[in-house]
Every structure is written in structure tokens, then in C-alpha cells.
Symmetry: C2
Subunit: 186 residues, 2 copies
DNA sequence: GGCGCACTTAGTACCAGGTAATAAGAGGTG
DNA sequence: CACCTCTTATTACCTGGTACTAAGTGCGCC
């Protein structure tokens, strides 16, 4: 062969990477890419424990299926379980590993904030509500897996500005408390 | 057959739903589920334009492959473009339609908050930093598509507590301003 | 020079989960 | 009754593999 061929070790290392960041290549394509026979690719996959194309794809699909659903539903943060428009509301969020710092499993603040903010906006009886000002306090860290219950109460309501208090509890302990001043744009 | 069998139309409707929320079933399993022959399932799929299992899985995999990456990278909200640990930092976020309310394209506050909070944590020179208290103000609404530049500055640094100011601008206008009191857990 | 050994390639049988096409019952309905 | 829709069965073939056997190929070392 005219081209300088690489060692087995090197090829396997590259194969690992290749498959990792593009799991959609069939053995035939991989064999062309590395300029070896299809059998060599298959032997390599065996040695490296890389599953066949279909299994790889299935893996990608099912790993991400859950994930996307949970990430997407985050757009409507929490689940509204009770609501009296213009007065009060309750929303629940089940925290997960993905919402937390890896090293210590403590849920990132902005997920808690988002729960509170979303609820505060929902509870206001206005077509469009935006946050103007917020004063918030994280009272104790939340460990991933905790079930958070947020309660919002409208403290003041004027024509186009509202003050809403939100308190979030895990079981009996309050983990977050915030005051939101909301502005409606009508 | 003893059980009351459902009409073709009804079955096809249910098949559509079934496949949509569980794309991982093979024809054989579907045929058992609906108590019809495998050929009927295949005819139904033809009529409804539902692709075969492998194609469905491939679809899920590739659709979500991108998505998860973009959603996950949102965990580190914004792109850190400059950082002097313990002093200051700059982060940029390109806002998108998905971050906004549908009706008016105004970016939801918590995405802006998340940008600020994430930056505030990054800028602190501590292994683990949590938000204690935050005072924030949204100064003007942000329309989806805007490019937000967040600047953070450490105002005070004690052994395990820090005060960080964050200002977010779109072009020349400041859209957000916040003070975070962070606590480190060492 | 020749032998051995790792590496590579080739070829065959078989499998899952289908497509495509053809044929044949089952069961109303005019 | 014949017709028509719906359903089922059967068969040949396809893709992207697995599993296994066998046959080169290079080269390193004695």
C-alpha cells in the first residue's frame, strides 16, 4: 500500500473517538474511513467492546429520549397544582441529578429561582407579566432528588404592578424565599 | 374472536399515538398489543406513513442528539469569554425563540437570571459556591434573538462569602442588574 | 534463510426486522 | 348472489450486522 498505514493501537484509539462523536457510521463506512477491511473494523469493535451500529443508535436514542423530555419540560418549570388567579398558587418541582452540580449534588440556584419566577408570573391575573425587581434568599441547599413545593401569594395588586411573595419548601424546611415585583404590559 | 375488536380507523389512530410516545416497539410487539396480525400493522404503517422501527429509532437519535447537546450546554448558561478569577468576568448569551414567551417574544426572566447567576458563581475563586441572597432588577424587556453581554465584578471577598455585581447589557442598554451574595462551602 | 506470531483479509452460514408483492379467507352490504 | 373492504398468510429479498473458519501478509528473531 502506498499510504503510510497506522498501527493497530492508534487505529483503535481513533476508532473509539470516531464512534463516540459520530455513532451513526456503519462498519463499511468506517472501513473506508480507516482504509482497512470491514473485518478489521469488526475485530476492533469486538476488542474494544463497541456495539454494532443499530445498538449504538438505539443507545443514543433511548439515553436522550428521557433527557430531552425532562429538559424540555423545564421550560414550564414545575407543575402547577393549585391556582387562584390573582391571589395565590402552588407549584411542585421534582429535582433531578441534571439540575445539580455534579460534585456535590446540590441543585443549582437558577432552577429554584425559575420555579419561583414561573409561579409568580402564573399567579398574576394579567395577560403579560414581567419581572421588575426581585429580592431572593436561598435559605438552605437543596439536594438533587428533593421534591420542592412552591407557594406564591399576591401581596399587593395595582393596575399594572404586583407584589408576589414566593416561599419554597422541602418537606418542612423553607429553602427559598423571594419577593417579586411584577409589571404587566397592557 | 371473543374480544370486541375496534375499527380500523380507531386502531390506526391509537397506533399513531402509541408509536409517537413509544417509538421503540417492533411490529411484532405492536401486533400483539393491538391483537391483530403483523401484516395488518404493516399495512397500517404504510397507510399512515410511519417508518419502520429502525428508522424511527434513528430519527429519535439524531433529532435528540443535537437537542440534548444544546440543552445541556445551557447548564453552563452563556459563553464565558473573559475571566479573571476572583475579580471579574464576561459571559455572552445569544437568546432564542425557545427562551421567550410565545405571544410577545419577550425572553423569560429566568434565562437572564441564569446567565447572571452562572457567571457570578464562575467568577468566584472557590470550589463550591452557592447563592445566599440576590437582589435583582430587570430594567427593560429583552426580545428573543438579542445578544446579551453579562459583566460580573467581585465587590467584596471574605473567607467564605462574596458579593458580586452583575450587569447585563444588550448593545448599549442595560437590561438587568443584580447583586449576589455568594457563600462558599469549604 | 526459515519459522513463528500478530495482524489482516476473505468467505460462508445465519439472524433480526423489516420491504414488496401476491394470494386467499372473512364478513358485511346493496 | 356478487362485490368490496379488511385482514391474514406466504414467500422472496434486503441491510447491517454476528459467529466462525480459513487463508494470506509482514516482520522480527534465532
Amino acid at each position: 500500500m502506498s499510504r503510510a498505514s497506522i498501527s493497530k493501537k492508534e487505529r483503535q484509539k481513533k476508532l473509539m473517538e470516531k464512534v463516540k462523536d459520530d455513532p451513526f457510521m456503519k462498519d463499511e463506512e468506517l472501513s473506508e474511513h480507516f482504509d482497512v477491511s470491514i473485518q478489521t473494523i469488526r475485530l476492533d469493535r469486538m476488542e474494544l467492546g463497541i456495539p454494532e451500529l443499530r445498538e449504538r443508535i438505539k443507545g443514543v436514542a433511548s439515553r436522550n429520549y428521557q433527557k430531552v423530555k425532562s429538559l424540555e419540560s423545564r421550560e414550564i418549570v414545575g407543575e402547577l397544582v393549585d391556582l387562584t388567579l390573582g391571589l395565590k398558587g402552588i407549584s411542585i418541582l421534582e429535582t433531578s441529578q441534571e439540575m445539580a452540580f455534579e460534585r456535590n449534588k446540590i441543585v443549582r440556584g437558577h432552577f429554584i429561582y425559575s420555579l419561583a419566577e414561573t409561579l409568580a408570573i402564573s399567579v398574576i391575573d394579567a395577560k403579560v407579566a414581567l419581572i421588575g425587581v426581585a429580592n431572593i434568599k436561598y435559605k438552605s441547599p437543596v439536594i438533587a432528588g428533593a421534591r420542592l413545593v412552591a407557594k406564591a401569594e399576591v401581596k399587593k395588586a395595582r393596575a399594572n404592578s404586583f407584589i408576589v411573595w414566593v416561599s419554597i419548601k422541602e418537606k418542612q424546611t423553607e429553602v427559598f424565599r423571594g419577593k417579586f415585583i411584577l409589571v404587566s404590559l397592557d
